[in-house]
């Protein structure tokens, strides 16, 4: 008896969305969908370090911005294809992750969180003062003409982000089920005990930080083409940092599906609110949801679902 491998489901959903993107005429949906997908990448990436290992990263915006500005630099120098820019952004961001890891991972709990917040501020200041990428004035990117095989460039960006989201979800899922994920969970529960059980805690944390940062950088790389005008305030927007934390928290941090649920839910609400009410309301919605979930359902939506299922299992048995 062969079971259908369960990784087929994320892939199937991605293929379904891809098909939809061909049928939908209105380009606005591509624009909005891109943001949702981008948040799936950010939330899944954040969760590898924050959810699995318990290290709260407040500097997601920094890694995202590294990807975005990596593209700006490449665009000014040699205008490579987007795929190259994405790989470049991912590599640079994971190298910054490596440095951050060595500098900060001896810090536990709230101190690590503050250190990552500081990283974002330091990098933003650096970019502000870097004339080559526009400094505080920002940088205009000119979108290439539409890509062969795609109805429009926005559609192309949407598909690229869809692929990135699928990769992130599959990576997060693979980590969760591998011995690396087990080791990270042991670190989250008790780092000293983990180390004394043979878990190479430092190496695993560095690996998780690099992977998490790299995926965030990849999510940021297409961003300059998406908004066409990139300035430090939009690339380093605190919204990225906050949302990357809020989405896994609301969805549930122990399983890969949690950040996906949180990202879809929160990003869709934000997109709808932006259009219907006001864009200023976004962060307030996040705040309210965050507080309600932390107090009422600390294990997120997945946690709620799980405890409900456990109760149903227990009742008939005993």
């Amino acid at each position: 008896m062969r079971r259908i491998p369960s990784w087929i489901w994320p892939v199937a959903v991605a293929v379904f969305i891809l098909t939809l993107s061909r049928l939908v005429e209105n380009e606005y949906y591509m624009f909005a969908g891109y943001v949702v997908l981008q948040y799936i990448v950010l939330a899944s990436a954040w969760n590898i370090l924050g959810g699995y290992a318990g290290y709260v990263n407040f500097g997601s915006a920094a890694f995202f911005a590294i990807g975005a500005y990596g593209t700006v630099v490449l665009d000014k120098l040699l205008e490579p294809p987007l795929v190259v820019a994405i790989l470049f952004g991912g590599i640079v961001a994971s190298l910054v992750g490596l440095v951050t890891a060595y500098l900060t991972l001896r810090l536990r709990g709230v101190f690590f969180a503050i250190a990552t917040l500081a990283l974002a501020i330091v990098l933003q200041t650096l970019v502000m003062n870097w004339e080559f990428v526009g400094g505080p004035l920002g940088f205009y990117t000119i979108r290439p003409d539409s890509i062969a095989g795609f109805p429009s460039y926005v559609n192309y960006l949407f598909v690229v982000m869809l692929v990135l989201a699928l990769i992130s979800v599959l990576v997060a899922r693979a980590i969760e089920r591998s011995f690396v994920g087990r080791g990270l969970a042991a670190i989250r529960d008790n780092e000293l005990a983990a180390e004394c059980c043979g878990v190479p805690t430092l190496r695993l944390k560095v690996f998780a930080t690099m992977l998490s940062g790299g995926l965030m950088g990849m999510a940021g790389a297409p961003f300059p083409y998406y908004i066409t005008y990139l300035d430090p305030n939009s690339a380093f927007s605190i919204a990225y940092s906050i949302n990357s934390i809020a989405m896994p928290l609301i969805g549930g941090m122990t399983y890969w599906i949690g950040p996906v649920i949180g990202a879809v839910l929160l990003a869709v609400i934000q997109q709808v609110a932006t259009v219907t009410i006001s864009s200023e309301l976004n962060l307030m919605i996040v705040g309210v949801l965050l507080i309600s979930f932390i107090t009422l359902a600390p294990n997120g939506i997945v946690g709620l679902f799980e405890s409900y299922r456990q109760q149903r299992h227990r009742r008939p048995g005993t």
Partner: protein, 246 residues
Amino acid sequence: MTTQKSLLEAISIGKRFGGFVALDAVDIAIWPGERVGLIGPNGSGKSTLVNCLSGATGSDTGTISFDGRAIERLPAHRRTRLGIVRTFQIPLPFTSMTVVGNLTIPLRFAARRHPEAKAAESDIEQALLILEDVGLRDKAYESSAGLTQVEMRKLELARAVAARPKLLIADETMAGLSNSEVDEIISLLFKLNDQGIAIIMIEHIMGAVMAFSQRVVVLVAGRKIADDVTDVVMRNAEVVRAYLGE
């Protein structure tokens, strides 16, 4: 014993915290399969010595060799993989995991790294066998957060065993347990020793130390004041003074 090579040999271990000398040139050697008691008043440096041997904190001075390898610069997880495994005074279970899940961590990360590892059974099967041994088999699939104190101590020991130690350092595994529970843990430690594991028992309960140890090492104020066969140490005037006063 003297003809055999020692398993662990720590020479002149020193550790200071600021101006406080926690360990002052302590020597300790352990032979394969030995049962050693490590005693001393509160604050005498027992736990610091355990931390230095297991790698939880580095030692400032001195050398440690294990199985003929210099290990004083190795991080704790490397030492665990070589076979020095410790338990914690306050049990530190991985609370998000089941009892059996707790054991799969050292089985995967430490035991498999042994040169002589022969994983005929899966990690889960091995974990269940160990739990059978310590009497936690029926709790295997329960959450480790819901265990009683004595069960937590047993889990702590079981998790250490799962790392396939050659030397087990049991740091006050019996503190706060009832007499019958203490007996349970002692017989468990004897059982592990029968399997060839050398054991250092750090303990305040004197009855337990005397019943268990072949040899006793006494620390007072960071210095080793006695290291001999149990009976001899118990008659040592300096030891008696350290424990009972003049």
